[in-house]
């Protein structure tokens, strides 16, 4: 396979892929391309969605045929080296998270599997400036990355039947947060009160692709107090 690649997604979209494995460069390329498509003014484009290694472009087949969309995307791809894209400016979040014990019952298991202490695992996570690589699984749910290689673990072979709302879980070099109870194959290491999807808020989705997040360790007691705050104690600034 040579990259970048363009393939159709059914009759209603195209997927532009910059790589088949995750990397910081592929994520930056994905985000940069997602930002560039609306500005290119391609007829029939309905939406864009950056993914871990590429970008989905929605197509209205009543307006434009796939061949025309593909040609326009190919032309846009030629205009620069997308994998060399700089990090784009975005909002910067500081999000309180309680780790371990009842807030994250699998932290010890994760630490053991990685050959680190739980404190080292938390320290490496909180000192990584995470990016929202994409939103998926549930509305507003972020895939955060990239964690350093020292923290990479595969998904579990089985599913945990249910983790609670606010669960912070990790697998495959990423972290995600659940807004509502859900089953998961990722490991539950912490808990936050950050809301992700609220219909009564001005904008229903708290996070957007490209946002940066620093997870700030707090105690379980502090987290309990923060659940009264509408943003769970999170602060945002920028760009």
């Amino acid at each position: 396979m040579t990259f970048p690649m363009i393939r159709n997604v059914g009759v209603t979209g195209a997927l532009v892929s910059f790589a088949d494995t995750m990397s910081a460069e592929a994520s930056r390329a994905a985000r940069a391309f997602a930002e560039a498509v609306p500005e290119a003014g391609i007829d029939g484009v309905t939406e864009t969605a950056p993914t871990l290694t590429g970008c989905y472009i929605g197509l209205d087949p009543l307006r434009t045929g796939y061949a025309d969309l593909e040609a326009a995307l190919a032309a846009l791809l030629k205009t620069r080296d997308w994998l060399a894209s700089e990090e784009l400016p975005g909002r910067h979040w500081r999000v309180p998270v309680a780790f371990g014990d009842e807030s994250g019952p699998q932290l010890e298991e994760v630490a053991k599997a990685l050959g680190l202490s739980p404190e080292e695992v938390v320290s490496q996570i909180t000192s990584t400036n995470l990016s929202v690589l994409m939103l998926g699984f549930a509305p507003g749910q972020p895939y955060l990355g990239h964690l350093p290689q020292t923290l990479h673990l595969p998904r579990q072979s089985g599913l945990t039947a249910e983790v609670p709302a606010g669960a912070v879980v990790t697998a495959i070099g990423q972290i995600t947060i659940f807004d509502a109870p859900a089953p998961t194959g990722w490991r539950w290491i912490g808990r936050t009160a950050l809301p992700l999807f609220r219909l009564d808020a001005g904008s229903p989705f708290t996070l957007a692709p490209g946002d940066r997040l620093d997870l700030i360790e707090v105690s379980a007691e502090r987290l309990a107090q923060l659940t009264d705050d509408p943003m769970g104690g999170a602060e945002v600034s920028g760009p």
């Binding site: 059914g10 871990l52 994409m134």
Partner: protein, 335 residues
């Protein structure tokens, strides 16, 4: 002036549905909308209204009443046992519900999702641009006994009917190769197209399982596939090798590989198939699929032209005695 439409009783999962909320894929929200978009359009065409929201009835309907005036409605999609009092109601047609009457819609005889469209604008909150519920995302909710909403009704007109093609019995679903088709071997793809599937027992607005006898289906290197965008119609290979056709409320990203995508025009046929109904997959090329998509849109826009007056059963006519059916009477004597 509005009338009050009341839910006396509703089957689980009855919800208001419309065209959904496109444009939020990057935020993790799938489009949603009625599983049978054709039934939604047919209901509006029968009533001569714009598409508003209608009640989607999964498997069974419920009991409904109206206060404040008569309300015309249409029944489309899966054929269900429906009646007002002793009168059985014809499907794919308009009827009128009057104060004091109860509309009872029972189990589906053919198909899985019935649609009850009301002639008028339903007064219900518009959330993120649409009235329909997205049950998985918790936008809106299923309807239940005691719910009611105001409807700004249009005046009932002469009864009408239309004759849809049969899309309620399963059959052939046309699919196109999609972004992850190349992850599967040609042997696997050929086998998929040769397999006689049955609509599985598992199925809802998020998707439906395709059951079959024989080996499961898998991609090469299935476990190391990255999470990627997922859209309704995608045929996803789950961990146990069962193909799953993703529905309007599917997740927007997923790590299970997708072998192909059911074209939007055949999604009503897929989701209307009852558990056990036969389904086979036919691969078509992308250009043809786009042509079919455009044709379907044109057909739906022209549905109004296929609506016909329905001859009324005298039993339907509450005001029969006021009609003068015969004028002029002779004494019977030869002149």
């Amino acid at each position: 002036m509005t009338v009050t439409f009341r839910i006396l009783d509703a089957a689980p999962g009855v919800s208001l549905q419309d065209r959904g909320r496109p444009g939020y894929l990057q935020y993790g929200l799938s489009r949603g909308g009625a599983v049978d978009q054709i039934a939604l359009a047919e209901g509006a065409a029968l009533l001569g209204t714009e598409i508003d929201a209608a009640l989607e009835l999964p498997g069974r309907g419920g009991r409904f009443s109206v206060e404040g005036g008569p309300l015309e409605f249409a029944l489309t999609g899966a054929r269900m046992a429906a009646r007002i009092g002793e009168r059985d109601l014809v499907w794919n047609a308009t009827h009128v519900l009057r104060p004091g009457e109860v509309l009872e819609i029972g189990g589906a005889r053919l198909g899985s999702y019935g649609m009850l469209s009301l002639a008028g604008v339903i007064e219900t909150p518009v959330i993120m641009g649409a009235k329909g519920a997205h049950l998985r995302a918790r936008i809106g909710r299923a309807l239940t006994a005691g719910d009611s909403f105001e409807v700004g009704p249009t005046a009932p007109a002469a009864p009408r009917i239309l004759a849809p093609g049969d899309r309620l019995s399963g059959g052939t679903l046309r699919i196109v190769a999609s972004a992850q088709t190349a992850l599967f071997s040609q042997v696997t793809l050929d086998r998929l197209l040769d397999t006689k599937f049955r609509r599985g027992q598992r199925g809802n607005r998020m998707g439906l399982a395709l059951d079959h006898d024989g080996e499961g289906f898998a991609a090469d290197n299935q476990l190391s596939v990255l999470s990627e965008i997922v859209t309704p119609g995608d045929i996803q290979m789950t961990g146990d090798g069962t193909p799953f056709i993703l529905g309007p409320e599917c997740q927007t990203t997923g790590g299970y590989p997708r072998i192909a995508t059911v074209i939007p025009s055949d999604m009503p046929r897929a989701f209307q198939a009852q558990p056990g109904a036969p389904l086979t997959l036919e691969m078509i090329d992308l250009e043809t699929a786009i042509e079919i998509t455009r044709q379907t849109a044109a057909d739906l826009a022209a549905l109004g032209k296929t609506v016909r007056p329905r001859l009324r059963d005298p039993h339907d006519m509450a005001d029969l005695l006021s009609y003068q059916l015969i004028s002029g009477v002779t004494l019977g004597e030869p002149s």
